[in-house]
């Protein structure tokens, strides 16, 4: 298991390098460049050309890529924004914790609320409880995010005055944004849990356990849930991934200076260092999260753990490995 984890951690390096190269290349081929943004509205052609040359945008692709990779990985310099000249890494360090809090809160809520909701629905299948919780889940994922956020603000900030409408500060500033952002994740987890548990609940070993007289609750928690958890955890990972770089709407509505807005503005302004730095940073975080998800699988299902420990060699399905002259 340890070897597996170490191998995965080492694999993060090539992933990050490839992400950096890809992001660089994509931004290179994107139409437009930051010069027009830097110089403002009405710079003349000559000024624009001069600035481009000065910033090195006329150099050949390989040269620019080489310079970038060298500065980025060898010198460890994520650069400074072309527009505001602020150090990218400093800004990321200031903004990322906020985005992280959101993402974590969304996952925690989806676990605390979504999974039990799904369990209840699965256990009482086709009853009113099932129908109502599933309708709730479907509504939750179909509601337009913007509308939901604004309604929450109107109700809790404007009418009731309990919570602030925007901004950052203490915990109370996070409550409304988290409520708005997590609904979709809760709905997804509820549906996945229900679906997954329904499958497992009909397994033979569950029937056996019932026949043995084990109380229903114990069956649920000890036998059904663990086996149903795999897609649920994977969905958690997917939700986290999506919310890392993409809580843009929530950040805009609640004026929260997080990674979403930073990245979006960087892309809109073609602020290359900002985009490259943010994406690579998020890629690292993301890889770690996916690793945690895979590790979680190992803890849930010992068969998977065995696979990791055998480096997946022994128990694969490829015929070539086990038998000679396969099919």
């Amino acid at each position: 298991m340890k070897r597996y984890v170490i191998k995965r951690i080492l694999l993060i390096i090539p992933v990050v390098i490839i992400v950096a190269i890809l992001v660089f290349t994509i931004m290179y081929f994107c139409p437009g460049d930051p010069v027009s943004v830097i110089l403002g509205g009405h710079a003349s052609d000559i000024e624009i050309a001069a600035k481009r040359a000065e910033m090195g945008f006329d150099d050949p692709y390989i040269l620019q890529l080489g310079k970038f990779l060298f500065n980025f990985f060898i010198k460890g310099d994520l650069g400074r924004s072309y527009i505001t000249d602020q150090s990218v890494i400093e800004v990321i360090m200031a903004r990322f914790p906020r985005t992280l809090i959101f993402s974590l809160a969304c996952i925690i809520l989806s676990v605390i609320i979504g999974i039990p909701l799904g369990m209840v629905a699965a256990v009482h299948r086709n009853s009113w409880g099932d129908r109502i919780s599933m309708i709730f889940a479907l509504i939750g994922s179909s509601l337009p995010n913007f509308w939901l956020a604004l309604q929450l603000v109107i109700i809790f900030a404007l009418r009731l005055g309990w919570l602030p409408a925007y901004g950052i500060g203490g915990i109370k500033y996070y409550i409304l944004p988290i409520m708005a952002a997590s609904l979709d994740g809760i709905a997804q987890e509820a549906r996945q849990t229900r679906s997954s548990m329904l499958e497992v609940i009909r397994s033979d070993y569950v029937t056996t356990a019932r026949a043995k007289g084990i109380p229903e609750r114990k069956i649920l928690i000890r036998h059904v849930l663990p086996n149903a958890l795999i897609p649920v955890i994977q969905t958690m990972g997917n939700i986290f991934a999506r919310s890392l770089g993409g809580a843009l709407l929530i950040e805009t509505v609640f004026s929260i200076p997080g990674m979403g807005v930073y990245l979006q503005t960087g892309i809109a302004n073609r602020d290359y260092p900002v985009v490259r730095g943010s994406v690579v940073f998020l890629a690292v975080v993301f890889s770690i999260v996916m690793l945690l998800v895979d590790i979680a699988f190992a803890y849930i299902d010992p068969r998977i753990k065995a696979q990791y420990e055998n480096h997946g060699k022994k128990n694969t399905l490829s015929p070539g490995r086990q038998q000679k002259g396969g099919a």
Partner: protein, 317 residues
């Protein structure tokens, strides 16, 4: 590694020994020899779905929406472009079932026409995501080892690149248009589908019947499609059907790149976005497109549930 290996039919007799899943019910029909297996499998699944009233309702609702979209020119009471400066922001009434928007256009007609684009974009994007995701996930899940690592790391890379960047580069490299919009919408989420399938395959790899099937030289594709995938696909059904709403609204977010639908062509996601300055004052402008999207999501989810039940061999049908 070859996926399509030489076809050798798994002998019927062996399936009884194994005792699990597909072969157990296929074995019930002894006249299987004459009918090609693939077709009957599909038919059987669909028959099971139709026996489920809730799922059938979902499918019917979806089909009705598609029909409404197709018949829009006949049903729509007004032209969807027709601006009427005197009749802006009129509330829902008998004359305008869903009211009028900020240009005085009839919202109901725009919803009907919009259904064409939204339904096709949303469904096509999800199908693209599903197909590619399943394909990659199956390969990763089945072969394991280095192949799996490569595919999973590629998924990491894909998911690390923001969707917006992908959409920009697709619109730059491939241009605009329906297919490119579908690609831009679907390609960003292929990785999440791929991961789900592979995650499902992880425990399945170890099951005894799989080992048994392999030992009788069952081809990889048969193994995947007949035995592993039906057991693995249910979370993916949930993810796909729930994601349609997101796909529809994402289409609107891409319009500034030239992708998606350009004004004045109606599209539900774009109508939602256009209604945002008016949420506090004319909320019906956001309710109706939102309800349409919700209906589609619900209908497909109900159908998806039924499909999942039909695919589940453990369920007593």
């Amino acid at each position: 590694m070859k996926i399509m290996e030489k076809r050798i039919r798994c002998p019927q007799e062996d399936s009884r020994r194994v005792g699990h899943n597909m072969n157990s019910f296929l074995a019930e029909n002894e006249s299987m020899e004459a009918i090609p297996k693939k077709q009957s499998y599909f038919v059987i699944i669909m028959q099971r779905v139709f026996k489920n009233p809730v799922a059938t309702t979902g499918l019917i609702v979806f089909v009705i929406m598609v029909l409404l979209a197709v018949l829009a020119p006949l049903i729509a009471p007004y032209d969807y472009v027709e601006m009427n400066p005197l009749n802006r922001f009129s509330s829902p009434s008998w004359k305008h079932l869903c009211g009028t928007d900020d240009f005085g256009r009839d919202i109901f007609s725009r919803l009907l026409y919009g259904a064409r684009y939204s339904l096709s974009l949303g469904v096509a994007a999800q199908i693209l995501q599903l197909t590619l995701g399943v394909f990659l996930g199956c390969i990763a899940g089945y072969y394991g080892g280095r192949t799996e690592q490569i595919i999973m790391r590629a998924c990491d890379i894909m998911q690390a690149i923001p969707n917006l960047l992908l959409a920009i580069i697709i619109s730059t490299a491939l241009g605009i248009g329906f297919i490119n919009t579908v690609i831009a919408l679907g390609v960003g989420h292929v990785a999440s589908s791929c991961r789900l399938i592979r995650a499902q395959f992880l425990p399945l790899r170890e099951l005894e019947y799989v080992e048994a099937e392999r030992s009788i030289n069952c081809s990889a594709s048969r193994l995947i499609f007949r035995h592993l995938l039906p057991n693995a696909v249910s979370p993916l059904i949930v993810q796909t059907t729930m994601g349609i709403g997101g796909a529809i609204t994402s289409a609107a977010a891409l319009s500034f790149l030239g992708l998606g639908v350009q004004p004045p062509t109606p599209e539900w996601g774009a109508m939602l976005t256009a209604a945002t300055p008016y949420i506090r004052y004319y909320p019906y402008m956001i309710y109706f497109p939102g309800i349409c999207i919700a209906i589609v999501v619900m209908a497909l989810n109900l159908f998806g549930d039924g499909l999942r039940d039909a695919l589940d061999p453990k369920l007593k049908q």
